[in-house]
Amino acid sequence: MAKVLLIEDDCETAEQITAELIDRGFDVEWSADGIAGLDRARTLLPDAMIVDRLLPGMDGLTIIEALRKERIRTPVLVLSALGAVNDRVRGLYMGGDDYLTKPFAIVELIARIEALLRRPSETRNTTIAVGPLELDLIERTARRGERIIDLLPREFRLLQYMMEHCGQLLTRAMLLEEVWHYKFIPATNLVDVHMGRLRHKVDGPGEPAMIHSVRGAGFILRMEP
């Protein structure tokens, strides 16, 4: 069971997040202020952390910097108020951590925590396979069983990302960030349209569906229905 440390001073938010994480089978610890949170992180050595940007005692980013100095590489999801996202917060994204702006949907938070926990290891494989689905990263070709799938470059990128994170819920925001490098949510349902096309190509007639929509949340690629 994955251990998650939540450092958040707002009781209401913390309660919601904790309840949801427990429902999803996580082991959750909660600290309400920065200094206690940092101590907890040192002793508990959690698998992932959720840290609010503004905390009594110690700023969320300072906690992360302190941990990194001690070579504690726990992945962190920073919660930041919209309008307070500056270059320092964006830097987290580069450092392998992630950030989420408030207000956020709880599914978005869970999806991102799961993504942080299951960060794909840096493999030098030139092919990825999920069930009958196979990608050749050198030749840039895709096939499902014996069937060759003809993909446009952007569809290839999308499918590759989904296969690298197979079995994980991927929200629209995550896909926009990772596949298109969009840092905002466009008004139109862009992702759905792209996903619809990809699905049309991947899940042929008569084949069991591999790309699934999760209502109100996002998409998931997996073998079983």
Partner: protein, 481 residues
Amino acid sequence: MSQSQLLRSTTFHMALVAAAVFALFIIVLFGFIKGKVDHYLTARSDEVITAHVEGLLGLSPELRRAAIMERLKQDPREVQIVAMFAADGHRITGNLNAMPPGLKIDGPAQRTVVPTDGPNGSRGRVVRAIARRMANGNVLVVGRDVDEAGEIAMVVGEATVLGLVPGFFLCLLAGGWLSMRAEKRVAHVNERVQRIIAGDLHERLPYGSGNDPFSKLAVIVNGMLDEMETMIRALEGVGNDIAHDLRTPLTSTRLILERGRANATNLEQLQAAVDKTIAGLDQSLSITTALLRLAEIENSRRSAGFGEVALGELLQEVCDMYEPIAEAKDITLTATIMRPSSVRGDRDLLMEAVANLVDNAIKFTPEGGKVELELLCGDGETILRVTDTGGGIAEQDRESVLRRFYRSEKMRHTPGVGLGLNLVAAIVKLHGFRLAIHSGPGGRIEIRCPDTSCESDAGREHTDAGIEPLLIPSRRQTGFG
């Protein structure tokens, strides 16, 4: 105003300084006049005595003696000195007992002190004198008393002091009066300002008809207050718009929940109601998110994170992103890069701006239409142009589209928040670019980035003759928008 306040006021201090400067000036002026008078009188004395001595030297010895006697007789004030000495220093005639010590013979007129016997006893007189040796070896001395100059200086000095004292006090009095007046006006202005602070936005500062600095300042401040009042009223309008746009989805959400609770007979029906509710809440949330995002961009400064952004690539990427959506609507979406150029900016924000424009263009273009993205050069600007075959923006709507939540009446049924163009305008302003909105038919919006290397006139050929595009930022639109 109490006395101590008066003494502390800056205006009064300045009056004091002015009075001191005035006094100093008078004293210096007096010194200058005295110096000038001294100099003038001395020069004149010298001229007179030199002429006199030359005159005496030109006479025969007998006549000379008589002339000396005559001269002394005609000088009841005893300002004249005339004397003749033998070569051994013995006095021959005249009103000097001995040769004045230090007087150079055959030199020019000079200052010297001579002892004289006057009615007030023996005293040293300061005189200008000249001495000449005659052909027979005797010495002729002619001089003139210059104490006269000192007397004149005394009189002038006394007059100056007599004038100075009342002048100084007059200065202080004027200073006191001016500072009192200023303090009174400040108190008056403060009274009005306090009323404005208390929330009375109609209040204005008092100003006279005159041309004095106080009135001018009041007029300037009043102008600022006018502008601020307009802005605050406009913001109130925005607040109402927000409330209205939030209430609509919230009201329907509430209705769905109420009906679901009353009518649902099984879990599925209840879930359907909840799903609808979540969709409604998401819409409300997206409005607040859009507003916060707008505030975030408007409040941010040109960050150090600006970098070179290749606009051609950016356009291509947006086009690539929206191509499937355009295709689903049977709209042709093309990107034409006439000249690959790059600008300094925030790549993510610029992408958001372009994406918003394309999003809008596709949304408002009917099926079978065309949306074109162009990157071109003209008038020293790199122009990023989005053209569509939709209805375009009517001339009278061009300013309104930048109002928050504004959606033209005919578009009411199209989904969207109505903040898209605000966002674009904010991003464009942050970068110091301009947003040009052309009036219809057909939509055409341009982001114009200053670029000195752009000399060609490609932008001109497309500009409709006579119809100037609305260029943002214009002062009024961007003051708070």
